[in-house]
């Protein structure tokens, strides 16, 4: 980490609408960076890891920071802050563990500013929001002067800090589909301190319960800090589908998840420790998610 200085010089542009932001970005392609909350970008700039000529600030585009109900699911604007997600009744009602995930990021001061879109677009393996959103089948919307396209969130992360967004595209919205049947989700993470710390390893799970057969109907599992990008562990998921929720099944799923992950050694943790964490946290996330799904079947409401 370099010495923290003042910010390097840049030109600052503040578009007022998504259309304007798209054309400004198209004009400055290559030497401009989109600036959301800035809690990460300001640090990268102070450390001179990046020195963009132009900063395109998105805080003045109101349409990007709404949370709305949509076809049984919800759509979250990319500029929505974690604080807004944490306190959203709509998010809590439909995807409660997203509120819990948001509430465990940074501090209230960070959450008042940091955004979901920034967390995804930074494409860092330690970001907490990609994994839970991936287990919900999130679809993102990318806009540019050329038009709009939708992309499954799991196809967005290409490599460390690299996304599938073209240089002229802006992430505008994250869509979460309606959750089928009796579903529960959880995101559990390990970190050295209980607050203000980067995640060492995290696991998200979303379980749909088959009430008639008393087995896992569907499951999605995604990992943070377990490879260069946030990743789904599809062998573990495939194994669990149709299984009764036994300790043996959990153990086997956790082993499969561990085999699919590619954690590395960093100053924060050794590879072997991360593998151990993936085992423990996968089981923990699955237990919590399945517990919520089964509680929903007990209440009889989908």
């Amino acid at each position: 980490m370099g010495y923290l200085r003042r910010l390097p010089r840049f030109e600052y542009l503040a578009p007022r609408s998504v259309d304007e932001a798209c054309s400004v970005l198209a004009e400055h392609q290559g030497d401009a960076r989109l600036f959301a909350g800035g809690t990460d970008l300001v640090l990268q700039m102070k450390r001179r890891e990046i020195t963009p000529r132009t900063i395109i600030g998105l805080k003045g585009v109101p349409s990007l920071s709404s949370i709305r109900a949509q076809a049984g699911g919800i759509a979250i604007g990319a500029m929505t802050t974690f604080g807004a997600i944490e306190s959203s009744a709509l998010v809590r009602e439909r995807y409660d563990f997203l509120c819990e995930t948001a509430a465990a990021i940074g501090s209230p001061e960070i959450r008042a500013v940091a955004t979901v879109g920034g967390n995804l677009s930074g494409a860092l393996p330690c970001a907490d929001f990609p994994a839970p959103l991936m287990t919900l089948g999130a679809v993102i919307r990318l806009r540019s002067v050329r038009g709009e396209r939708a992309l499954a969130l799991e196809d967005f992360f290409m490599e460390f800090a690299e996304t599938a967004a073209a240089p002229d595209e802006i992430l505008t919205e994250i869509e979460l589909p309606v959750r089928p049947g009796f579903t529960g989700g959880a995101y559990v993470k390990f970190r050295d301190r209980h607050a203000m710390d980067m995640t060492t390893t995290g696991v998200a799970a979303c379980v749909t319960w088959d009430r008639e057969r008393q087995v896992v109907d569907d499951v999605k599992i995604a990992l943070s800090v377990s490879g260069p990008v946030p990743l789904r562990v599809k062998n573990a998921e495939a194994f669990l589908r149709g299984q009764a929720f036994t300790e043996n099944a959990l153990e086997e799923a956790a082993c499969l998840a561990c085999q699919e992950a590619q954690p590395r050694t960093s100053w924060r943790a050794r590879k072997e420790f991360r593998q151990e964490l993936i085992m423990v946290l996968t089981k923990k996330a699955l237990r919590q998610a399945a517990g919520k799904a089964r509680a929903a079947t007990d209440r009889g409401n989908a």
Binding site: L7, K46, E109, A112, M196
Partner: protein, 164 residues
């Protein structure tokens, strides 16, 4: 590259018309252009909480926030908390009376965070107070007196509210 942008800031109720470069943080502008040095500069990387101010009522780290992006928002710093000279805010009084101030460097940030927190959650549990202050480092007190001060401030504010 335009070196200076005209920026209108509203700080502690006072309007300021400034001409500042866009790469200046809100912390730098408060301290260096407006001489409001109650807001402290310490880690400058969003870890310590010393630079906390309120932006439209929400506590934020001013070291991570561009001053140009504070345009049109209400900024409240420690200087604006007490209504008049010599009269301390309830939260400030609680910090003094509880012994939550030693060297005092983290105090303005913690008091501003407390203001935002109690405005939202007037009757918090101790656990909630601990969670609300995770973004603040204090190297003197060991935090116990700070947590006590915040709980005392909540009680005092509730008593005042009930009396009014």
């Amino acid at each position: 590259m335009k070196p200076l942008s005209p920026v209108s800031l509203k700080v502690n109720g006072e309007p300021y018309e400034l001409s500042i470069p866009p790469w200046r943080t809100l912390l730098e502008v408060l301290r260096e252009d407006l001489s409001l040095t109650g807001t402290k500069r310490s880690c400058q990387e969003g870890q310590c909480g010393a630079c906390t101010v309120l932006l439209d009522g929400h506590a934020i780290y001013s070291c991570l926030f561009l001053a140009v992006e504070a345009q049109g928002k209400e900024i409240l710093t420690i200087e604006g908390l007490a209504r008049s000279a010599g009269a301390l805010d309830t939260i400030q009084k609680a910090f003094v009376e509880t012994g939550a101030v030693q060297c005092g460097f983290c105090t303005p940030g913690l008091i501003m965070a407390t203001k935002s927190f109690l405005d939202e959650n007037p009757a918090p549990s101790e656990e909630e107070v601990r969670r609300a202050t995770v973004g603040h480092l204090c190297r003197c007190t060991g935090y116990f007196q700070i947590i006590e001060a915040i709980l005392a401030a909540a009680r005092e504010r509730a008593a005042k509210g009930a009396a009014a």
